[in-house]
Structure formats: structure tokens, C-alpha cells
Symmetry: C2
Subunit: 326 residues, 2 copies
């Protein structure tokens, strides 16, 4: 008997969850729910229903876990508490600053209805968070470093696209090699924002646009670019398509700590991902299994990856896990 | 109110647990239990009882968790099931092949007495196991690689010391850089034992010993050395003391996987430890906290790190963990 999964939304992340489900024989994609006209949405998996999101509640009892693949800005703050009334749910809410309030809203809905809801799943928040909590628990005296990249930041790419005169753009976040070396050195240096990451922008201009003005607008944009060393490359639409159509990402979580007798320890975790949405989708798929198992054991309310014992993620039975992975 | 911890044994690992407890304000070392004459054992922490191990059961109700710091060959197979009758316990049992039978024996004792027992804690088994299970859950199609070192293997050092004519020895396990590169390449190569690690031996001879014969005995020793490229350096006792008195270790866990649409992902975890026993002790200290919290919630029986949700390891309350680490 497979774990029956529904996906809400059908963007990059949803397609990542879909392809990850295809790699896990105990997971089954049962339906994709969309706010578009379902007749216009073609999905990759054969024989799977594409439904109007408005009909979601009719699927109660026919889905074990619902994977919410909308955006953190406007979709998830509404959808996750709403759908937790009817299903066990999982989302990838990634606005770190608003996690506490999202958690509260989802927890209330999930407790009242007796469902289990896992929020903020993926790799950051997600696997990177796990590495932060494990390493800080083991090395209480020390310093954390999180580096992102080299990879495409969709938020920063979107910010460039909103500048008048820009037709399309791709922004790469790049960790500064010297800062990475410093983080590994055991000297626990402090870094400014500028010292840790640089930003590389590949921009296609509208015809007749003023390149110098666009470059200035990017480099001085508050929050997104003004605190970074930013380089801007103007390229053709063909070049963007040819060289920058993928969504790679990754990064590093380090903890540099000193142990009781003054000895140093360095814990380093890194990801190199050819596709950010496919990897995030793979994490969500594994956590769908965990949500199903924990809900079956009676867990309810809102949880994060910190609440999930690793055994729930892996398809093998627990004895086999100990034999082969411990 | 601190978590009251007792330590059984007082070797390198016990001293590592002791110094880690000193870094965690919510943990308190209450007693060290020894099979030696307690009057001869001087410990680092002030005002802590040193007791004859034979009197351990008299401490029921005065300790929250007992950390068993004996060896996996003969101590722990007896001690962990025995002491789980009286206390919540934790051990670092690291003979991978015998984990299933150790688990069964400890589980029986712990269930019958209503205690919680965590076995096989440390970094391998332990943090490395966690990385294997997380990465394999997320990337079901792929390949694992575990490399150890560069670091001192105490088992291999002991094996050299048992050779006639050897006064003292230190053996370093060294990962082969080329194999590490292969593991990261995305080509998922297969490696022989010899291709992954080399072994470096630093040997002090007894006066008049035959160096060529000792070297031959090391290099041809089955299981320990015969499957590896081994180098042997003869040094003086002073050099051994000066250059090889520490116990550094570390290693790498990699998973190279392909995602649903054929994109590649590389997950890499590494440790660089100036002191193996201090780091292992730091892991045990964090898991003492987890055992205490899970036992307070009613968990009993034998568990491994796979059963422990990350939140139990970190001293902060769960809301604060989400705010700062998620």
C-alpha cells in the first residue's frame, strides 16, 4: 500500500516533488490541484488527476498527505492553515523571519482538526537547519557560518526583472572563497554581508534600454544588492537561454567549535545541486513519508524538521535501517 | 534543575564526556564509577564523587542518565543491558556488525525495567549514520561513500603494539584524495578497499628488534593492513611523544545521487577533529539531554540516533530553536 500524495500548485517545486515521488516506490501521486483551468495543465505523470483547487475538500479520505507547493509570500500563509483543516500537510515556507507566526497559525488549525502539518521543509530551511541544530548541540561553544551558492536566487532574479528596461535576468549568489577558508580556519572570524557573498547578474535588456542606468539600479537596490559586491553582465536572450536556463544551487553550513579541553572541531555540510527545485522536491517527498508515519502514530499539530526523528524519513523498516545505515 | 549524569569508566572517552558536560550549563556530572580502586582515580571536575562500580545500584534515583564509556569488545555487551535495568543509559557501542544483537539485548532489559537506552552514539556510528540516513532518504537513487581520517585509529595502533619487538606505535588512517575527488565527481565510481584509504604507521622499536621483520608483520597483517597500501616509519620514543601524542580524527560522508529528471546532487558532510574522544564525548553529552527528555515523555526500550528528533538535543526550548536555528 503506497502513501497517497496530493500536490497543490504546479510550478517548479511541484514538478520537483512529482519527479521525486517517481523515485520512491512507496509514494504515489494521486492528484495535482491547480487554480488554473485544469484542462490546460499537462503534468508529467501518467494517469494522475488534475483538479481544480476549489474541489480539494472533496478529496478528504483519498489522500494521506498534501504537499503545498505555493510561494511563501502570499500562498502558504493562507493555504497551509486552511488545508490543515482537512489533510495532513507539508509546506516549504521559507521566510525565516515569519516562521513563528506561520507555525502558530498552522498549529491552531491542525490541532483543532486533528491533523499533522510540517512546515518549512526543504534545504534552507530544512537540511541546513538540521545541520545547524545538530552541530550547535554537540559544540555549544563555537560559531556558525551559512554560505549559499553558487546558485540561482529566484528572488534576486525577479527583483532585477522588475527594473524598467530589463527583459530577463538571472542572478547567481556566490560564496567568497576567502570567507569559506576563514570559516574553516578555527579562528572564528566575523564577516560583514559583503565579505561572505558576491552577486553575479546576467541581464537581457529591452531594445533601447540604458545599460548604465540599469546597472546602477541593480547595484544600488537596497536589501537585494546594495550591501554586496555585484557584477552585471549584459547578454543576449539567446545566451541567457543557452547558458542560464538551469536552476542550480547549493551552499555550506559550518560550525567551528572548541571542545572542553580547548581542542578544535570543524563540522562542515555542503550541497551541490544541479537543480534546486528538484532537490527541494526530493526533501519534501521524504518528509511526506515521515508525516504519514507520524500521523499514523497519532501526532497532530504543527511540526518542523526538528520534530522528526530520522527513522521516519527512510523507506526501510527500522531494524533494516540500523543494520545498514547505523 | 540540571540533568544529573553518571559516567562509568574513566578512560579517554569518559574524560571527553566529562569535559563536554562542563560546556553545558544544564548538564551536571554527579559521579564517576570505576572498577579501579576509587581512591586512585583523580578526575578533572571538582566535588564529584568517584565510586566503586560495584556500588552503582545504590545511585538509583540520584542520576538521570548513565553514560557508559567502556569498550565495545567486552565491556558494553555486558554493561549496557545490565545497567539499563537500573538507569536510563547511553553507550558508544561501535562494532557495526554486532549492533543488531546488542540492540536486542539492551532493548529487552530496558523494556522490562521501564528505562530508555540509547546505543551506538558518537560520530560513526552516530553523526555519520545520521548523514547516511538523511541523504539516502532524500536521494534514493545514488551511492554512499564514507571516508575516515586523517586520524589515529586506536584499534590499528593497538594491533601494531601487539607485534613482538614493538614498544609503541601510532597508526593514521588517511583517505585517498583521488578517491574523494571521484566520489564528488557524479560518476559514482566503485572503489576497492585499497583505493579509498592508506595507512601510515609510526613505530618505536624495542632495543635490538628487527625492523624489517616488524615492517613485514605490519604490512601483511590480515584485516588490519594487508588490504591497504601501508607505510611504516620507525621513530624514537621522544618523536612519538612529541609529534603523535594527540588523537585527531575525522572523515567524510558523501552521497552522490541523481534526481528524477536526471539532475545530479552531491551531499557532503565532514568532520575535522583535533580530539576524537573529546568530540565523541561531546556527542554523548548532547544525547544525554535527549535521553533525559525522551524518558521524561515516557519513552522506554532501546533506541539509536535514528529515533531521536533533533529538537531533543539542543538546550533551548523548542520555540526558540525554531526562531534561531530553523
Amino acid at each position: 500500500m503506497s502513501i497517497r500524495i496530493g500536490i497543490v500548485g504546479y510550478g517548479n517545486l511541484a514538478r520537483g516533488v512529482e519527479s521525486a515521488i517517481g523515485q520512491n516506490p512507496d509514494l504515489e501521486l494521486c492528484a495535482v490541484f491547480t487554480r488554473r483551468d485544469p484542462g490546460t495543465v499537462r503534468i508529467s505523470t501518467q494517469n494522475v488527476a488534475v483538479e481544480d483547487a476549489a474541489r480539494l475538500t472533496e478529496w478528504q479520505g483519498r489522500l494521506d498527505v498534501l504537499a503545498l507547493c505555493g510561494g511563501s509570500a502570499t500562498d502558504l500563509p493562507k493555504q497551509t492553515p486552511e488545508y490543515a483543516k482537512y489533510f495532513h500537510v507539508i509546506d516549504s515556507f521559507d521566510t525565516h523571519a515569519h516562521i513563528p507566526e506561520h507555525f502558530s497559525a498552522v498549529d491552531k488549525a491542525a490541532r483543532e482538526s486533528g491533523h499533522l502539518a510540517l512546515i518549512s521543509c526543504g534545504w534552507d530551511p530544512g537540511l541546513f537547519s538540521l545541520n545547524r541544530i545538530y552541530a550547535e548541540s554537540v559544540l555549544p561553544e563555537g560559531k556558525h557560518y551559512t554560505f549559499w551558492g553558487r546558485g540561482v536566487s529566484q528572488g534576486h532574479s525577479d527583483a532585477i526583472r522588475r527594473i524598467p528596461g530589463v527583459k530577463d535576468a538571472r542572478q547567481y549568489t556566490v560564496p567568497v572563497e576567502k570567507a569559506l577558508e576563514g570559516a574553516r580556519s578555527g579562528r572564528n572570524p566575523e564577516f560583514s554581508t559583503r565579505e561572505m557573498h558576491t552577486r553575479e547578474c546576467y541581464v537581457v535588456l529591452e531594445e533601447g534600454a540604458d545599460a548604465a542606468r540599469v546597472e546602477e539600479s541593480i547595484k544600488t537596490m537596497p536589501n537585494y544588492f546594495s550591501d554586496y559586491d555585484t557584477t552585471v553582465h549584459f547578454i543576449s536572450e539567446e545566451e541567457l537561454k543557452r547558458d542560464h536556463s538551469e536552476l542550480p544551487h547549493g551552499g555550506f553550513v559550518l560550525r567551528s567549535g572548541s571542545m572542553g579541553k580547548g581542542h578544535h572541531a570543524l563540522v562542515e555540510y555542503s550541497l551541490k545541486l544541479d537543480s534546486n527545485p528538484e532537490f527541494t522536491g526530493s526533501v519534501l517527498a521524504a518528509y511526506c513519508r515521515a508525516v504519514f508515519r507520524m500521523a499514523a502514530e497519532g501526532s497532530t499539530g504543527c511540526i518542523s524538521v526538528f520534530d522528526v526523528a530520522p527513522k521516519y524519513l527512510h523507506p526501510a523498516d527500522y531494524e533494516e535501517q540500523r543494520r545498514h545505515l547505523l
